[in-house]
């Protein structure tokens, strides 16, 4: 069983479009969407939800106003400026609260209770391409890293149970907690970049994170023809660091057209973009040493 994660550092470089196309090309696989803040893969794969689960993580405080003496001890110890006094009443700002529980521990009259926090949902679903695990983090909630881990664990369980040889994971942007939760322990990180200064800057940072966690990394240059000079800078940087570039995709509005129609671009068109993505999938198969049946043509 192999797990590939598609990441980018910078948002909007084309992770989800590429993930959906690989999902359409590969066989015997399960998909996971680890961009739990703003999951988009399901908009292209059109899943039927089989199982809906609540996600609880962390704890949040609530004040019993009858017990509270407004002594101010909780406000004094809170390091996140989450407790304020408004009209001489102690109140908690849950948006600023980190959920450490220190306020409840120090309250001399036990007026603060910590309760479990419902902060999202996750789903096991079926698509015409295979199973998809995805999630929705509650609005303005925390603990996205834990939700990412849940998505990955469930995708792995499905793969094991059904003897699937490949897990395809659509990752989040950035390099912080959700990205680290997506990346750690994966077999291969596929970084999608674009030839802009931001794209290059963010590529370098996300590749360093992948190296830091010991995950093998390859690169795809999307929209490579919008700035050929920057594309060759990316090529040189990757060569210097021994990072294989497994493909380039040129800029074509057909990608947006397919997106608006809600289908993976490889199923929407047969033009150069589709050929470029098929070449990328071919390279990936070779790199991952997938079983031979991945190489047989569709009947």
């Amino acid at each position: 069983m192999k797990e590939i994660v598609i990441i980018s550092g910078k948002g909007g470089t084309g992770k989800t479009v590429i993930t959906a196309s690989i999902a359409a090309l590969a066989k015997n696989k399960v998909m996971g969407d680890c961009d739990v803040d703003a999951s988009n893969l399901y908009l292209l794969l059109h899943p039927e939800i089989k199982e809906k689960n609540d996600f609880y993580a962390g704890i949040i405080p609530s004040i019993n106003l009858e017990k509270c003496t407004n002594c101010g001890r909780c406000q004094e110890v809170c390091r996140f400026e989450a407790i304020k006094t408004i009209k001489s009443q102690t109140v908690i700002d849950l948006i600023s609260c980190e959920g450490c529980g220190l306020c409840a521990l120090v309250c001399p009259v036990q007026a603060i209770q910590m309760k479990e926090n419902h902060c999202g949902e996750w789903y096991i679903s079926e698509t015409k391409y295979g199973p998809l695990v995805y999630a929705r983090l509650g609005i303005a909630e925390e603990n996205s890293g834990k939700l990412v881990t849940l998505v990955r664990q469930n995708a792995q369980t499905i793969a094991k149970k059904n003897n699937l040889e490949l897990i395809i994971v659509d990752g989040p942007p950035g390099i912080g907690c959700p990205l680290i939760a997506t990346l750690s322990g994966a077999d291969l990180a596929v970084v999608v970049t674009e030839p802009t200064l931001s794209g290059i800057h963010d590529l370098e940072r996300v590749v360093k994170v992948a190296q830091h966690f010991g995950v093998k990394t390859v690169v795809i240059i999307n929209k490579y023809d919008i700035n050929l000079e920057n594309s060759s800078k990316i090529k040189n940087w990757c060569q210097k660091d021994n990072i294989p570039i497994i493909g380039k995709i040129h800029f074509d509005n057909i990608i947006t057209e397919a997106l608006v129609k809600g289908v993976p671009v490889v199923e929407y068109s047969d033009n150069t973009v589709t050929k470029e993505i098929k070449d990328i999938w071919q390279r990936l198969k070779e790199m991952l040493c997938l079983p031979l049946d991945q190489f047989l043509p569709d009947v």
């Binding site: 988009n40 925390e142 950035g174 912080g176 200064l197």
Partner: protein, 293 residues
């Protein structure tokens, strides 16, 4: 006045909007413009504003340091830590700095006063000048998971300028622009809370609309005034416009997919530097927002 620029989906043009707005406003000598890049995971605004950095400081979170001589391995610290950042065995205390949020519960509750705190660097903050613009950004260290403490630190720079009393300064003369990270979770909230207005940047595709709806939910929850900038407005469908109209969200500005803008962007050149037309557009964008506030 504090204006933040955010979006659910990444890569829609947050930095482009924030940078061009800052440059257009800074041309007016009566305006004091401050730019805070709060996307500390992938900060990009400096690539366009090219600030001269004049100071740099380390951002640390206080993590526990155990004094072996005083510790009797009672386990109280591990019991009060909800983040599982401390584990206590029979004769050893293990601290996991990556999990620590720096809340201070362990040191406060240690019966033997065996825990002190030491700073663990998670990133850096840099300040400088880009022309007349006061520039600040942060940078999360590679491998560190937690962005919000760096964002909190960047935002203390607002307080300093406003002398702790922001309401005195909700004028059109002091303008703070915040470039937020993508998404809808903690780093975004930390970046935009306290703003007088948030510009949501999106694109006319199913992804753009889906993530815009999530971002609008966040702003409603935080009770922040907001409007939409539609970038590459001619590439997809009309559903974002329909959504904004139906929900009474002002569409502040629409920018077509323009090869000139895209090429300039890829080279790190802000569009207002080469196009007086767009400079005017960004000034109008600000005027619309100022009127709403």
């Amino acid at each position: 006045m504090i204006i933040s620029v955010a979006s659910g989906k990444g890569g829609t043009g947050k930095t482009t909007i924030a940078v061009n707005l800052a440059l257009a406003l800074a041309k007016d000598k009566g305006k004091n413009v401050k730019f805070l890049d709060c996307d500390v995971e992938e900060p990009n605004a400096h690539l366009f504003l090219k600030p001269v950095i004049t100071s740099s400081e380390s951002v640390e979170i206080p993590v526990p340091k155990i004094d072996d001589k005083k510790c009797n391995y009672c386990g109280k610290c591990a019991e009060v830590c909800v983040f599982n950042a401390i584990a206590v065995t029979k004769n050893k205390v293990l601290v996991f700095p990556g999990l620590c949020h720096g809340c201070g519960a362990c040191s406060l509750f240690c019966p033997g006063k065996a825990i002190s705190e030491e700073g663990n660097e998670i990133g850096i903050l840099e300040e400088g000048k880009a022309g007349s613009i006061n520039f600040t950004h942060g940078r999360l260290n590679i491998g560190e998971p937690m962005a919000p403490p760096i964002i909190r630190k960047i935002k203390t720079k607002i307080k300093k300028d406003y002398n702790g009393n922001r309401s005195n300064d909700i004028t059109n003369h002091h303008i703070t622009l915040i470039d937020a990270p993508p998404g809808t979770s903690c780093p975004v909230i930390e970046s935009i809370k306290g703003s007088d207005y948030t510009i949501l940047v999106t694109e006319p595709t199913p992804f753009g609309l889906h993530d815009l709806i999530l971002a609008v939910e966040v702003l409603k929850k935080l009770n922040i005034l907001h409007g939409v900038v539609l970038n590459k407005c001619d590439i997809g469908d009309h559903k974002v416009e329909e959504y904004c109209k139906k929900n009474d969200i002002p569409l502040l500005l629409s920018i077509p997919l323009d090869r000139e803008i895209a090429v300039a962007y890829s080279q790190g050149i802000p569009i207002v530097k080469i196009s007086p037309f767009y400079e005017q557009k960004f000034i109008q964008l600000f005027q619309k927002i100022a009127q709403t506030i």
